[in-house]
């Protein structure tokens, strides 16, 4: 199919629309791609990421499931063993836990267990993170749970362009991918996206801004505050390099270490709580791989080690621009 027939176009879209564009593109390109989840077909998903798929590809490939997350995960695994490429949606990351046994005990190890006979080319999508004044259980950032599991890739886009390119890459990848969409910025920004079917790599971080004094390492919705902090700090004469990790696992340590070797300082920013977070792995990697380049201790700006507060207090939990600038000032002073 030519790109023109495929409906190639370039337009300004939100992250939600970019996800939707990628799903449309890949379902048209590959008849093995199927989508399943709760309220995704007729309703188009509670965030509308799957709007229009049922109309374009029919109920056979766009499936509203019964309300059972464990079943969604396990059914996707069975489908994948038959050569389908399921994109399974969990309505919110807080509801993924019912499916965790299937993801950890089967999706992540089917290839290894069968010595390559069967494998699981599945994308498990879930909106994640806080900041949208949602009820309890709707604001989780538990990417570290999955980053800890061998056999899984954990991918987190933070812009419409990366959402489009990384989702295409995740669907085409022959192994299971946990694809976490930062819902706080689902509609916060628009970006020009070329709907051309071009995927982005799944094994590299994205350097969003080059700088010399400090490396700011982040992912997900925090990328926005981090870039704002970098702007403010630039006015104070501090040059920040900003890296969107994006592919949280397996982790592209080379890009991170090269940057820290250049700047000598690192601040890690993530929304999830601190204890055992992915930031700890990043910090440990820097300690192991760039210790002698460091001019200051690595600092983390993260959520607190507590339950995500209900929304009246969530702004005190989520890293703010001032938290990031303060941390940078702290490491620059050393």
């Amino acid at each position: 199919m030519s790109k023109a027939e495929h409906g190639e176009e370039t337009r300004d879209v939100t992250l939600v629309e970019a996800v939707n564009m990628a799903l449309h593109w890949e379902m048209a390109r590959d008849e093995n791609v199927v989508v399943l989840g709760e309220d995704i077909a007729t309703n188009g998903g509670v965030f509308r990421t799957t709007v229009g798929l049922k109309e374009a590809f029919g109920f056979k490939r766009v499936m509203d499931t019964p309300l059972a997350e464990n079943l969604i995960a396990g059914t996707a695994i069975g489908m994948a063993t038959q050569g389908l490429k399921p994109v399974a949606e969990f309505q919110f990351m807080g509801f993924i836990y019912a499916g965790v046994e299937q993801i950890i005990s089967h999706a992540a190890r089917m290839r290894n267990r069968t010595r390559g006979r069967l494998h699981c080319p599945i994308v498990f999508r879930a909106p994640f993170g806080g900041g949208i004044h949602a009820p309890e259980h709707h604001s989780e950032s538990t990417e570290a749970l999955f980053a800890h599991i061998p056999g899984l890739r954990v991918v987190i886009p933070s812009s419409p362009q990366r959402a489009y390119g990384l989702l295409l890459a995740a669907i085409r990848n022959p192994d299971p991918v946990i694809f976490l969409e930062p819902k706080r910025i689902y509609r916060a920004v628009t970006q020009t996206v070329a709907n051309n079917g071009e995927a982005l790599p799944l094994d590299t971080c994205f350097t969003l801004r080059e700088g010399d004094d400090v490396t700011l390492i982040t992912w997900g919705a925090c990328v926005l505050e981090t870039l704002q902090a970098a702007d403010q700090l630039a006015e104070q004469g501090v040059s920040c390099e900003v890296i969107d990790v994006a592919t949280v696992s397996p982790l592209d340590r080379d890009t991170l270490l090269c940057s820290v070797a250049k700047t000598g300082r690192a601040v890690i920013i993530h929304e999830a709580c601190r204890n055992g977070g992915v930031g700890a792995e990043v910090a440990a990697s820097i300690a192991e791989g760039a210790f002698l380049d460091l001019q200051a201790p690595v600092v983390r700006v993260t959520g607190y080690d507590t339950v995500m507060p209900y929304y009246r207090n969530e702004q005190y939990y989520l890293p703010q621009v001032e938290d990031i600038t303060r941390a940078v000032e702290q490491v620059i002073a050393l």
């Binding site: 199927v34 056979k60 490939r61 499936m63 499931t65 019964p66 059972a68 464990n70 079943l71 995960a73 396990g74 059914t75 996707a76 695994i77 069975g78 489908m79 994948a80 063993t81 038959q82 050569g83 389908l84 046994e101 299937q102 005990s105 089967h106 089917m110 290839r111 290894n112 267990r113 069968t114 010595r115 390559g116 006979r117 069967l118 494998h119 061998p150 056999g151 890739r153 990848n173 022959p174 192994d175 094994d203 397996p250 982790l251 592209d252 340590r253 080379d254």
Partner: protein, 359 residues
């Protein structure tokens, strides 16, 4: 009050405990070749099982779950399925695996701590042994969904124990099978025990089969030690699946004649009398009696079969014992399609650690 629904659960057996027909037998009994092949597979499975336990007891195999008491139902399933169907097992399905083409050596490798034991050359689409209870039921409906999406007249058979019916995976899966009219047959092998927990503590429901009713599916009970009853039930359920008529739940009632695994000691929780009564219902002996009564079997034929089975098992054991472990670096080689850059260093570490040895 208006009655909206009533249900019944039927229970089928054709032979008494001694192998005497209780009445007219189903058509499956007329296919002499198939019945004899079934008997051979049951004997081979039991011979293999005894050997696997002996290997574990002598330190030559890991923890192993005996299939004793499941040979009849497992054989009936394996015979009913075609090559293009997909089998989704739990972990006590040796009799079925053998008929599907899994080699005895592969079974030994799996329980003997070697991932190649699930590489299954001859039934590449069958799902591997599932240890986490009932999780395989969700895979079964996923495979069946793939058949439905592609419009293929294929079916899935999924096995599960009585304990597994307590888990959400089973209930969620039969529910989906009903909602989506999926071509899948669930066989609940009710062997009365989930390790030490008796059937009576698993559910207040009178039967496991009636759980099917809640999902809009038919549920049948068969005597799982009655080859004819079990073969007929699986054949019928598969025909129903091929014909687009949806899923079936079969509860095959049997008894776990061995320990849960070689790490278990069933004398801690069940009586010798209970076990003795169960042995009196043994399905292999029952079929052997029927074969004798039908003039299809003789002591000489039995002796020859036992010798053949022993020879087959001994050869597989020799092959298994002669198989060297994989190089340790393989622990990373099958995690992803290709080794991520992030893991290259760890693979080198493993190689260095074993340099000069297996790596």
């Amino acid at each position: 009050m208006r009655q909206i629904h009533e249900f019944h659960v039927d229970s089928t057996r054709y032979l008494d405990d001694h192998g005497k027909p209780l009445g007219e037998l189903p058509p499956q009994a007329e296919n002499t070749e198939r019945v004899l092949a079934a008997y051979r597979n049951m004997v081979l499975t039991r011979t293999f099982d005894a050997k696997a336990i002996a290997l574990q007891r002598t330190g030559k195999c890991g923890t192993y779950p005996s299939v004793l008491g499941h040979e009849v139902v497992g054989t009936a399933i394996g015979q009913s399925m075609t090559n293009t169907d997909v089998f989704v097992p739990y972990y006590r399905d040796q009799a079925t695996h053998i008929l599907r083409g899994v080699s005895l050596k592969e079974l030994l490798l799996y329980w003997g701590g070697d991932e190649r034991g699930s590489a299954w050359e001859h039934c590449p689409q069958d799902l591997p042994i599932a240890v986490p209870i009932a999780t395989q039921c969700c895979h079964a409906v996923g495979v069946a969904s793939a058949f439905r999406i592609r419009g293929e007249a294929r079916a899935v058979v999924c096995c599960i124990g009585d304990g597994g019916t307590s888990k959400g995976d089973f209930l969620e899966s039969i529910n989906l099978a009903g909602a989506w009219h999926l071509p899948v047959v669930f066989v609940v092998i009710n062997n009365q025990w989930a390790i030490s927990t008796p059937r009576s503590l698993q559910t207040g429901a009178e039967t496991m089969a009636q759980k099917a009713i809640s999902a809009g599916l038919p549920g049948h009970i068969v005597d799982g030690n009655d080859y004819f009853a079990t073969a007929e039930a699986v054949d019928t359920a598969l025909e129903r699946a091929y014909g687009g008529k949806g899923a079936t739940v079969i509860e095959a009632v049997t008894y776990r004649l061995g320990d849960h695994t070689t790490a278990d000691d069933a004398t801690r929780y069940r009586s010798a009398e209970d076990l003795k009564r169960a042995w009196e219902k043994d399905g292999i002996k029952r079929l052997q009696n029927w074969l004798h009564g039908s003039g299809l079997w003789s002591p000489d034929k039995e002796k020859t079969l036992q010798a053949e089975c022993k020879q087959t098992v001994d050869k597989a054991v020799a092959d298994y014992l002669a198989t060297e472990a994989e190089p340790p670096t393989t622990m990373l080689d099958y995690l992803f399609e290709s080794l991520p850059i992030a893991l290259k260093g760890q693979r080198e570490q493993i190689a260095d650690k074993y340099r000069g040895g297996a790596a």
